[in-house]
């Protein structure tokens, strides 16, 4: 449903920005910024695909190109079988766009009037506009507030209306750009439930997010993006294998059990032991999956029963691949 081949986008700095770049000297950054660099991606029909990456990685640039808001400077992208550069109008009829934040709605008119407006813009047949608007308002839980001006809506309500607006044209492909940004946990949970429903309907969804738990909860596959390139594309369920092919064992030691740590690290089945951020907690990396039962038996015999096993999480893979940059962008 989405086919991206060698997609690239270079921005050229202009005016003061370009002057500043030139003054910085020949070795400093030039006036070109590579936002996307030869990106290849294939998202089959019905898949929910997550695009993850730090700020400035190129996630939004990718969505802007796929949603026909931005032209690529190289490569090709097809959405629902149509080229985003040469067949933008065909693409626009088949996609819905939802982005996070307060913007993008007419706040002086009601939720229902917003949907009718956007239905008209998406050339929805006049005979179905009313019915579809009502259905969507019910679906996103805004039916009771449908005839109130949007200016009085909370961020969560606005976001649900954004989703309804994105669906008004009954799109085959839905782009969600950080859709839960700034939403409270309950609103986020409701929003994710709605996305699950859309996924069950077989729609193709491309979602960009910083939120690892969101990606794990919603996405069939994820792509990690950094510096304009896709680092890896893997199924969400198995991406942890990139760091370890088998479960690791996390244990929490009481103070009196601390001396056991060196003995534990010396076991032939243990590859290494890493300290975790919680006091007394360590992560045991075994040499193989077969070694796990042996180590678990040893731990229980030693009286260590605060333990759990698990594969590396998406967040760990992300930190491993992207690197822990702290607040650096």
């Amino acid at each position: 449903m989405i086919e991206v081949t060698g997609l690239g986008r270079v921005f050229v700095k202009k005016g003061r920005q370009a002057k500043r770049a030139k003054q910085s000297g020949p070795t400093a950054q030039d006036s070109r910024v590579v936002a996307l660099d030869s990106v290849n991606l294939s998202v089959p029909e019905g898949e929910t695909h997550g695009v993850l990456g730090p700020n400035g990685a190129g996630k939004t640039t990718l969505v802007r190109i796929l949603s026909t808001m931005l032209l690529p400077t190289s490569g090709r992208a097809l959405v629902a079988g149509h080229d985003v550069t040469t067949e933008a109008d065909q693409v626009r009829r088949r996609i819905g766009i939802v982005f996070g934040g307060d913007n993008g709605l007419y706040t002086r008119i009601t939720a229902r009037q917003n949907l009718v407006f956007w239905a008209t813009m998406y050339r929805v047949d006049a005979s179905v506009v009313k019915r579809r608007s009502q259905e969507l308002l019910e679906r996103v839980g805004l039916a009771d507030r449908a005839d109130e001006p949007v200016e009085g809506f909370s961020r969560g309500m606005r976001q649900r209306l954004h989703l309804a607006r994105g669906l008004i044209g009954d799109p085959a492909v839905l782009f969600l750009d950080e859709p839960t940004m700034g939403m409270d946990p309950l609103a986020t949970r409701d929003f994710r439930d709605l996305v699950h429903e859309l996924k069950a309907e077989g729609r193709t969804i491309l979602i960009t997010t910083h939120d690892m738990s969101e990606a794990e909860a919603l996405c069939d596959r994820v792509s990690l993006v950094d510096h304009g390139s896709i680092l890896v594309t893997e199924p969400t369920a198995t991406i942890g294998r990139m760091l370890s092919g088998h479960d690791r064992i996390d244990v929490t030691l009481r103070e009196d059990q601390s001396p056991l740590l060196s003995e534990l690290a010396g076991l032939p089945q243990v590859e290494r032991v890493d300290k975790l951020s919680e006091p007394g907690s360590v992560r045991i990396h075994t040499v193989s999956a077969d070694a796990n039962p042996v180590v678990l038996r040893w731990l229980l015999d030693a009286g260590i029963d605060a333990l759990r096993t698990g594969r590396p999480t998406l967040e760990e893979v992300y930190v491993h691949l992207v690197g822990n940059r702290g607040l650096t962008v």
Binding site: R9, F11, T60, R64, S67, T68, M69, L70, L71, A88, D89, R92, R93, I97, F99, G101, D102, N103, G104, L105, Y106, T107, R108, I109, Q113, V116, F117, W118, T120, M121, Y122, R123, A126, G169, D177
Partner: protein, 263 residues
């Protein structure tokens, strides 16, 4: 059919927003006072500089120009579009944004019609001009045509202001100053050098104002209708340009990356 719906929906949003632009008090004590002051000022200048005919010429010109000024305020609607982040969403919808803008700011034409009519009434009451009675009867259709022409002209400037957001007020002031200066508001178009006079033929207001002056001077109705017909043609030309301009602005935005989800 879809064209009608798009323009209708866009106009609906505009009218909903307009309710929040003024209260009756701010409209009367702010906007109307400003317009009346402008018309009276030029009227008095005309009276001091010339004779009664000159004063009436200036008063008529300024009273009619009010609707042209107000119609170009569609530029402020475009600014609002950008501020609330609906601009990029319109660009990536399957509908030409130019078509949307043929309706999006129509409330300014209606507001201008009200302002212009009120200014006319005040001018008539205060200055007692020697205008033919037909002005009172035919002013409304003439003003509507002039307002629509100025509106589509303003819509093009609105498209430009979407691209050069920092200069939105420059576009607005430049837009109506051009009309006020060259289209016969205070001085006849023949006052200007021939190339400028020729250029005013394709500017809104020029022919509509001539039609109004012909009415005021009890000129032949056929001349009035002829000038109004030309004003309609000019409006159609600017409307076509509006459609092209918005397409072009959207294409440029896609190319240089100036369109964003939050812009």
């Amino acid at each position: 059919m879809m064209v009608k719906q798009v323009i209708g929906q866009a106009a609906f949003v505009g009218f909903a927003e307009f309710k929040h632009v003024y209260t009756p008090k701010t409209w009367l004590t702010g906007w109307m006072l400003r317009l009346v002051s402008q018309v009276v000022f030029f009227g008095l200048v005309g009276k001091m500089a010339g004779d009664r005919i000159t004063a009436e010429y200036v008063l008529l010109g300024n009273a009619v120009t009010v609707i042209a000024i107000e119609a170009t305020l569609v530029i402020t609607t475009a600014s609002l579009e950008r501020y609330q982040g609906t601009y990029p969403m319109l660009v990536v919808s399957p509908t030409n944004m130019g078509l949307v803008y043929l309706g999006r700011g129509l409330h300014w034409v209606l507001a201008g019609l009200g302002s212009s009519a009120l200014v006319f009434a005040l001018v008539w009451a205060l200055f007692r001009p020697d205008w033919n009675w037909r002005v009172a009867v035919f002013a409304l259709p003439c003003l509507i045509v002039i307002g629509l022409g100025a509106y589509v002209y303003g819509a093009i400037l609105a498209a430009c202001s979407l691209r050069h957001y920092k200069f939105r007020w420059v576009y607005l002031n430049f837009g109506f100053m051009v009309l006020m200066t060259f289209c016969g508001t205070n001085v006849p178009r023949s006052f200007w050098p021939a190339p400028i006079e020729w250029a005013t033929q394709v500017l809104p207001l020029s022919h509509g104002l001539t039609a109004m002056r012909t009415l005021a001077a009890a000129g032949p109705l056929s001349d009035v209708l002829g000038q109004l017909g030309l004003e309609v043609c000019v409006a159609a030309l600017w409307a076509a340009l509006t459609l092209l301009f918005f397409e072009r602005i959207a294409s440029k935005g896609r190319r240089d990356g100036s369109l964003n989800f939050t812009s």
